[in-house]
Amino acid sequence: MTRAAPLLAVRQLRRHFPVRNAFGMLTGAIRALDDVTLDVRPGETLGIVGESGCGKSTLGKTLAGIHEPDAGQIVFEGEDISQLRGGARGSVTQRLQYIHQDSGNALDPRWKIGRSLDEPLAIHTNLTRAERGERVREILAAVGLPRGHLDLYPHEISGGQQRRVGLARILTLQPRLVILDEPTSGLDVSVQAMVLKLLRDLQERFELTYLFISHDLSVVRVMCDRVGVMYLGRFVELAATEDLFARPRHPYARSLLSAIPQIGGRRVTDTFALEGEPPNAAQLPSGCRFRPRCPLAAAVCEVREPELEPVGEGHSAACHFADGAGESR
């Protein structure tokens, strides 16, 4: 199963945002995605983690067609969709869905839940009204909401239920790949637990593949099969979740993992060592992007940017010293 053809293959994807000065002249670019290459396998949950500004949301939005890539390929179900526009792209959208951070808030407050759920079907399919009604009721039951909710307005249901509706809205189109952009940020832990459980149930039931974008590593750890760590527009490490958490190879991934508070374990405030903050994405350092903050930085890091290379079975990292130098750190 792991060797099946990827559902989504991303090759050298690039998305730069222009930076202009006060006179509107181009002065540089924020390299939000810099030649990103990635495979998403059918049925898996692939986590994308990183801090604000690392490009994880830009990746999700570019894959979903919200941003246009500057260069590179996005091959979805064997078809390059990076150049598709308009109606042709619209038909892909059905099978490749994107969910916003606050999917409940995306509901129209003046529409009843039933109408919100019907809308995507009316736009994307040729089903009759009765068939659409049938599909909506089926999905509503799948996300665990009573049928009576179809006649309520968004403000009449709780935040957790709004999220369920947001999910239901995506599922009515029977997508294959769902891009979840920070699906649990801003939620209380008990509601977060509900959402995570629901996401898992739905994945099993509808054979979904998830691209799970999050800054919360403890959530990613329980939800994802594989995890990619991004830093300033690039993947620095990509591995099976267990491998990554047990043996992170890239110094940035190591710092990131060591910053998660672990209840009952050692305290991060006693051990955490990484200094500084990510540099301005418009003015990247030469060579390796992590070099100015890296404890292992050497002369070679200044000259040559490391590529994402295999360091083990299904485990790759972009570091000149990923093979074990500095292992004692």
Binding site: E51, S52, S158, G160, D188, V189, S190, V191, Q192, A193, M194, L196, K197, R200, H215, L217, S218, V219, R221, V222, M223, F245, S255, L256, A259, I260, P261, Q262, I263, G264, R267, V268, T269, F272, L274, E275, E277
Partner: protein, 346 residues
């Protein structure tokens, strides 16, 4: 003086006037903070933790109404205190504040140094009690004090590791990153030499590596300055990192208060137990808490957690449980037993 307790909140009841009736957001909350201790106030949205913090700071919204109970700070009754004295000596001076959002807390149009000096003009510990003025615009800032205040401010900036404090004084807030701005906020909270700092979700808006740096800073500074901290957070991991004691609130009631190690090792209140179980952890199933947070306008009777509690009995619906325990306090008629330990109730 009451020994080592700095802040004592006693059976505080507070309601917000709303269109649908009174929302009782604090329903008889009691807790106390010792000198130099960091108290974590945890709970989910709407549990009343921010309202409690605001009540202590005296910055409640206009429709809030304290119905009964008391807040004692360093042995003095805050609620009964003369308003002008409270403004001058307590609020923003002996009790200072670190906000949740370091982006919104500065005025983006004024230099950071000017904003710091504006704070020090009014809240400096060197301000003589007799120093008076004629309204905000006419009050002079004595030159000697201004110089001393400025030096003190620069020292604090250095302490929170702001590079080149002298230059930072002349920058606009927009020139600092979120993490740096939160460092500035911490420095400002320390400048007035407070006894108590109220930190409202200070790391929620920050990335995890920056969060670790900021938490380290708060913990370290709390210790070196001997300041007590009341830290509200919804993140139990944050609370574990830096708190000495933890209070859990649910729907306006405090349900459990314990020293940090005991809290995580031997939680007694069913809500605390469920809350800890709902945290994602490797190798464990995800547990949600069935049901939803109740309306505070028509809250459940007795223990407000009873509709969601599998241990609930008739007595839980009838009345709110009294406090059990001394060092480890919880309010439950049927607490979760601690393995291998038979505790005598009392």
């Amino acid at each position: 003086m009451t020994g080592s307790l700095l802040l004592e909140i006693d059976e505080l009841r507070l309601g917000y006037e709303t269109g649908r009736g009174v929302a009782r957001v604090l329903d008889g909350v009691s807790l106390s903070i010792g000198r130099g201790r960091i108290m974590g106030l945890v709970g989910e949205s709407g549990c009343g933790k921010t309202t409690l913090a605001r009540a202590v700071l005296g910055i409640l919204a206009a429709n809030a109404n304290i119905e009964s109970g008391g807040i004692r700070f360093d042995g003095e009754d805050l609620l009964g205190m003369d308003r002008r004295r409270f403004q001058r000596e307590i609020k923003g001076r002996r009790i200072s504040f670190i906000p949740q959002d370091p982006y919104g807390a500065f005025n983006p149009l004024f230099r950071v140094g000017d904003q710091i000096m504006e704070l020090m003009k009014w809240k400096s510990p060197r301000r003589a009690p007799g120093e008076k003025g004629l309204g905000a615009l006419m009050t002079p800032y004595p030159r000697a004090r201004k110089k001393a205040d400025r030096e003190e401010a620069l020292r604090r900036l250095e302490e929170v590791q702001i590079p080149d404090p002298e230059r930072a004084f002349g920058k606009l807030p927009g020139e600092f990153s979120g993490g740096q701005r939160q460092r500035l906020m911490i420095a400002m909270a320390l400048m007035t030499e407070p006894d108590l700092i109220i930190a409202d979700e200070p790391t929620t808006a920050l990335d995890v590596t920056i969060q670790a740096q900021i938490l380290k800073l708060i913990k370290g500074l709390g210790a070196t300055h001997g300041v007590s901290v009341l830290l509200t957070t919804h993140d139990l991991g944050t609370a574990y990192e830096i708190c000495d004691d933890i209070t859990v609130m649910y729907a306006g009631q405090e349900v459990e208060i314990a020293p940090v190690e005991t809290f995580f090792a031997q939680p007694r209140h069913p809500y605390t137990v469920r809350l800890l179980e709902s945290l994602p952890a490797p190798g464990r199933e995800i547990h949600e808490i069935a049901g939803e947070i109740p309306s505070l306008v028509e809250p459940p009777s007795g223990c407000r957690f009873h509709p969601r509690c599998e241990r609930a009995k008739d007595v839980c619906r009838a009345s709110r449980p009294p406090v059990s325990g001394a060092l480890h306090r919880f309010r439950c008629f049927d607490p979760v037993p601690v393995p291998g330990d038979v505790e005598v109730p009392g």
